[in-house]
């Protein structure tokens, strides 16, 4: 057993411990905190699996932003938790445990019985990378070979926004999402919120840009930008935009919209829908990604902010 394996086992044990904590601890708030720690640490596993693109995504969206959404809800719901319903009976829990364990066992068997040799598309991806002029294979898959999935997934994000907004009360419709954050404009939080975001913007754009050839991309960069935006909002330095705002709407559809337009362009002038002419492939993809960066950052930020609660006037 090599030293690397020992490390892997240690990592798996720490993460598994956090997972068990998250499920088993009685207090919801503690479980949420455990989950944030979990989400951030899972990124380590992804690095270990040599999937850095995913590690970036998991650290940013899975752990960071996702954790914060949960945390906000846990903080809001905390007072009510005492009066929550009874836990299911022992029989139910035992049978659920047994069945879950069998599913897990079946999965373990299925995943650990590898076909030999394991099939892979990696050589295909590499040999076709020339068509886009990008060196990051994951970006190539996302933006060229499986561009349809990526575009539809942007629409999913948009629908999530529609869904969240549709939960507003009728009076608050068109207003600003989330509560108004109050903070001392001279406080430490405001201090951080003035210093960090510009640097965060540079980092976010860098992550997008480097995504062409190295791990990175629009999602990860967008998540960084979103977190910086929310930091400024939480410090009370700016307010969330009212959802009626025309500009906001345009930004929110910019990513999928441009994607669709470029795709249709491929249908009309090129070889196929979502096909990029070889000469312009890289600039086209980068401009789509730039639009998506804006869209994703705004979308993620608004998803965290929640439904419109206040009228736009305040």
């Amino acid at each position: 057993m090599s030293i690397a394996t020992v490390f892997e086992i240690a990592l798996a044990v720490v993460v598994l411990g956090l997972a068990i904590w998250t499920i088993a601890v009685p207090d919801t708030y503690s479980a949420t905190v455990g989950f944030i720690a979990y989400g951030l640490l899972v990124a380590l596993i992804w690095v270990r699996l040599d999937a850095v693109d995913v590690a970036l995504t998991e650290a940013a969206i899975g752990g960071g932003l996702g954790g914060v959404v949960l945390l906000g809800a846990a903080a809001r719901l905390r007072g009510t938790e005492a009066m929550t319903m009874e836990r299911p009976s022992l029989i139910v829990r035992l049978s659920a445990a047994a069945l879950s364990a069998s599913i897990a066992a079946a999965l373990a068997v299925a995943i650990l019985l590898p076909p030999n040799p394991a099939p892979t598309l990696a050589p295909d991806v590499v040999s076709n990378a020339g068509a886009t002029g990008m060196a990051n294979p994951v970006t190539n898959v996302l933006m060229a070979f499986r561009a349809m999935d990526t575009m539809l997934e942007k629409v999913v994000l948009l629908l999530a926004i529609v869904g969240v907004w549709s939960l507003a009360s009728d009076q608050a419709w068109g207003g600003r999402p989330g509560p108004r954050h109050q903070a001392d404009p001279n406080g430490v939080l405001a201090f951080l919120a003035r210093l960090l975001p510009p640097a965060g913007i540079v980092v976010g754009i860098y992550i997008l840009w480097t995504g062409a050839d190295h791990p990175g991309g629009a999602f990860q960069g967008g998540a960084v930008l979103a977190s910086m935006w929310l930091l400024v909002i939480m410090a009370g330095l700016v307010d969330t935009p009212p959802v009626r705002s025309r500009w906001l709407r345009l930004v929110l559809v910019a990513g999928p919209g441009l994607f669709l337009v470029v795709g249709l362009g491929g249908l009309c002038f090129g070889s196929a829908f979502l096909a990029y002419p070889a000469a312009f492939a890289k600039p086209l993809i980068l401009s789509i990604e730039a639009a998506m960066l804006l869209t994703i950052a705004t979308t993620l930020g608004l998803l965290l902010a929640g439904a419109p609660e206040r009228s736009a006037e305040r």
Partner: protein, 96 residues
């Protein structure tokens, strides 16, 4: 060198795990708020070492994102914690 660095990664990871145990145990919310900060330091150290060990230079970018996002999570902790203290008003002492 690789063995040494891997051992170091393992040790820091173990420290991280132990630290998380102590932090998550509480008793106060302020303790739990430190979780993201602990990951912000120890987790990044692990990542940087791991990047060097496995020769994945982009691990540094992951560390960068982790630094920013862990900060963000910590701020959210404090912010929500504070807002809860304000709304609770009376007895913030009892946390369990």
């Amino acid at each position: 060198m690789t063995e040494f660095l891997t051992t170091a990664v393992g040790l820091i990871l173990a420290m991280l795990g132990l630290g998380l145990v102590s932090i998550l145990r509480g008793p106060a919310d302020a303790d739990r708020m430190m979780a993201a900060q602990l990951i912000g330091t120890a987790g990044i150290a692990v990542l940087l070492l791991l990047g060097t060990v496995t020769g994945v230079p982009a691990a540094v970018d992951v560390a960068l994102i982790l630094a920013l996002l862990a900060t963000f999570a910590s701020i959210a902790f404090v912010k929500k914690g504070l807002s809860r203290l304000e709304t609770d008003g009376a007895g913030p002492g009892e946390d369990r």
